[in-house]
Each structure stands twice: as C-alpha cells, then as structure tokens.
Assembly symmetry: C2
Homo-oligomer: 296 residues x 2
C-alpha cells in the first residue's frame, strides 16, 4: 500500500518501521511523527549518518519500510548530502514530504530545581547560534556539542543538574527531562522540509486530487556548454510548468562538474508533465525521476 | 590596492588582516594562506559564526581588510548561510576565490609515544565520517566534537595523551602537536571553494587577461510564475555566457519563496556580460552583482 493512498491519518492501517539520521529525539523523529502519526509508527531506527540511512533502506531484508530525511532548511538551505544520495542510490523513490518548525526548547535534568541553578548550556553550535538573543540575556557558559538530541542524552546519562540542553520538546520527553523554556529561537520562521523515501518498487498512485497539489523531483545532467541548462529547463517552462526549486550540485567523481536537482509542480503521470519529461530526456545526458508526491 | 592587482604572490606589498569562521587552525585559515601567501598575512581573526565574520567586515573601523569564507564543498555542497549573508550584507563584494583540498591528518599530543597508545579519536562528525575506512582499521572509540581544529585544541589544552584528533596539518603545527598519519580521508577529491570578500568600495580592476579567466557572481529574484527563471537565464544563454553554478535559496523573510544565486564565466565589465546584466536587471525584481574575480 502506498503512502499516497494512506496519507490521511485515519486511513492508516499498517504500522511502519522508519529510519532517520541522528540520535533518538532528533528533529527528524518529530518529522516522522508529523507525517505518519505517532500511533502508526511501529519503530524508529536511528542511524549515525545519512549514508547509512540510504544504505539501510535499500538493503535486502531491511527492517525499514521508509526513511525520513531532511532536504532543505528555510535558514540553512539544501542538505547537499541528501541530493547526492538520491542521485547515487538505486531504487529509492520520494513518496511524500513534510515540513516541521524547528523550535528549540531549553531542557534540564528533572532534579534541577530552578532555572537559576543553570550554569552551562550545551547544544549543536547551529542551535546555540539560533537562540542567540535568548542566551545573551543569561550568563551561562555555552558549550558546543555534536547534536541537539545528543545534548539532551548527555544530561540524562551524566546526570548533569546544572546544565541545560537546547533541543526539541520531543527530546525532553524521551530522555525524561523537564522543559524550562519553549520556543527560545530568535527566528520563529525556521522550518525544515523532510522527504519520505522508500525502496519499495510500487509507484504511488495518483489519487483523486488536483494535479497541482503534487510536486515532482528530478535529477539530470547536461552537456557542459553555454545554454544547455536553459535549453533543458525550457521543456518545462514552455508547458507552463512551475519550478519550485533548482540546484546545481558538483559531481562527486568529477569535482566542479555539475548535475541539477529540480522540483516542479505537477505529477509525472499528468500528460503535460509526461511530455515535458519525455522531451527533457532527449535534451539531457542523464535523467532520473525521483518521484511525484503530495506537497506538504 | 585591489587583490586582483596584487594576486601574484611576489607582487604583494601589504600585509593584511583577514577574518574567518572557526577556531585557529581551521581549514579556512589554510585557505587564507593559500590565497594571500602566509608572509602577506599580518593577522588572522577567528570568529565563531559566519554571521559575525560578515558583521565584522562591514563594521566601521574593522581591523579586517578581507574575510575568507567557504561557499561550496565538492562533497557536501553549497554553504547556504554564506549565500544568505551575501544577499543580506551591504557593501560586501567578492574579489577572489581559492580552492583547497580538505585533507585530514591524524594528530596527537607530543607526549604520545606511539600510535599504539591511542584509545580515542575526536573530531567533527563529518570528518570522522570522511575517514571511515582508515578508522575502521583501528579499534578506537570515536567521539564527535563540534570542530576539527577545536579537537586539536582540546588535545593541547587538556593534555590528552591517549587521544588523537582528525584535523588539518596546520592545526597540528599551530597547537604544537605531532602528525601520526596524513591524508587519512577515504576520498582524496574532497575540496572546498572559498571566496575572498571585502567591504572596500573600490572595484577590482580588470587586469590584462582573457575575460574567460573571470567568474562573476550575482543574486536575483524573479516573479513567482512559470518560466520566469528561464526567461531570466536566457539573457545569459542567448549571449553564449556559460553558467557555472545555479542555486535557488529560500527567502528568510518569506519561507519557501526563492531567490537565485548564479555564477557565470566572464567579467561584469566585458561588453557582452554588461549587456546581459542590463537586460537581466529589467527581467528581475532585484539584481545584486556580487563581483567579478579571477577563477581559482
């Protein structure tokens, strides 16, 4: 059963095992719950790197039905490694997307009796930077660590009672910590877009919906000469197909040669999109259709 | 005096103060030395975040003549924050670029008598991941920390004699540590491209050289409608100007609306490029020319 057929929460009938990158309590885990609904998740499979997430998903006999990986953050931009892994991995298709707000909480050990007892704050440097205004109002030592959820885990594992972590509210819940303050980030518009991927070969079905509720993701490479990118993109623009994202990415094997990642509105099975993709295939060296899925 | 006029090493006559993001010994500092020549650097100014680097550069009375910041890594991709800061910062121009290999060394305390004494290895998680094959051959505990040069600094500051750091050879030199192994990364093609920026208003001069030795970087936004991007880019392709990079970036103020960052071959003062830029200005909502500079 495809995700698209079951994308309204009440319709889920199966429980899924879903892989993600990071520690238990990471924002990716929040994204999993936001997309599938917490009750529909049988287990989450945390893995240290994005590469391992993709490898796990395509492995014969993998426990993971899906993986949820970040593709773009509204502040920091595209996660290049995700694009590369989409290019390099065979049989991986995008079947959905979900956006979640990246809202940081200040969390502490349950034995910490008051915020006035806090002496140090630990988190990923990016999270510390995102909470600058809040932190500037407090005289705490700031200690960078490798991961937000990892910071929460350290407080529990090492029983740090004078230390707070900046992490998700989910991390506080999972590690049995208390929330001292919510939404402490300077910019509340910070969001991350995640994609839901699978190596299940069955295509998602075009359900009864306006075509422009769908987004299609492709990767292609062109000859390295003036105009070849515009020539490729004109197959879409001449059909009034709207691009929603474009990115050039260096080829790993040939540094500073590029491939292109493009998102556009529409479903690959729509006649207009199908014609555009057929023509694009003729104008590119390589074209990989990653999938069509409901826009978040 | 502009960098372009003095870009051959023997020609430097001044000593510069140059800001960068990271700890002393970071790869950005290696990039500074690679571009300016070590003897021409009066001082390096390490700052914790890219934002602070840009702020420092544009501040009245700043000590920094230039800053060197990463814009793209051949494996990990574009550094989105750098693009955003180029968009948001007034009076910042790109005047040069430099590429350096990201080659990791295994470095240890000078009192560490042998590699067989090593029990733990510390570094940024990305550097640990990049040296997977080498590390798999050793039975060391792997501990992620926030920064590669920071890991080297920890070994010195805390006198860790059973711990090695993965960092640059420059970091070993600066912190008085010994190099146990060089080039331990799995993929030796890993490079980072840095840009040299300044807030000095004087334009770099077009020196006696073929125009296609130059690269020009621009940022623009278009109307959100099908074809507007292709329409914009055709001002370049119709003049046989070759794009070397394109990227869509979400607008911070309007999540999931985009601006475009584009690099192309040629100098903004070339007649062909100037005509293209004039026409592009008419077809875009906003156009910012970041600078023309010698290709690395």
């Amino acid at each position: 059963m495809s995700v698209l057929q079951t994308s309204t929460r009440p319709g889920y009938t199966s429980k899924y095992s879903i892989a993600f990158q990071g520690e238990i309590g990471a924002y990716s885990q929040s994204a999993i719950y936001a997309f599938f609904g917490r009750d529909n998740v049988n287990e989450v499979l945390p893995l240290p790197t994005l590469r391992q997430v993709f490898q796990n998903l395509v492995r014969e006999g993998s426990r993971a039905d899906y993986a949820v990986v970040p593709i773009e953050n509204s502040l920091a931009g595209t996660i290049g490694e995700t694009l590369d892994l989409l290019l390099l991995s065979n049989n991986v298709r995008i079947v959905g997307e979900v956006r979640i707000p990246i809202s940081h909480a200040l969390i502490a050990h349950e034995n910490c009796s008051s915020i006035s007892k806090i002496r140090r704050v630990i988190s990923h440097p990016q999270a510390i930077a995102q909470c600058k205004e809040y932190l500037d109002a407090h005289d705490w030592e700031q200690i960078p660590v490798y991961d937000t959820a990892g910071a929460a885990k350290m407080i529990r594992d090492e029983n740090l009672e004078d230390t707070a972590a900046i992490a998700s509210e989910l991390a506080a819940e999972i590690y049995g910590l208390q929330i001292l303050a919510r939404h402490i980030e300077d910019d509340h518009s910070n969001q991350t877009r995640f994609i839901v991927i699978t190596s299940n070969a069955s295509s998602p079905v075009l359900v009864n919906s306006e075509a422009n509720d769908y987004r299609t993701s492709i990767i292609f490479s062109t000859e390295h000469k003036p105009g070849s990118l515009v020539d490729s993109l004109s197959t879409l623009s001449s059909r009034k197909i709207n691009l929603t994202k474009i990115e050039s990415r260096p080829m790993k094997s040939r540094p500073w040669e590029y491939y292109f990642y493009v998102d556009f509105e529409g479903h690959e099975k729509d006649e207009n999109c199908r014609n555009a993709l057929d023509e694009l295939k003729e104008r590119t060296i390589e074209l990989k259709i990653l999938g069509s899925y409901k826009r978040a």
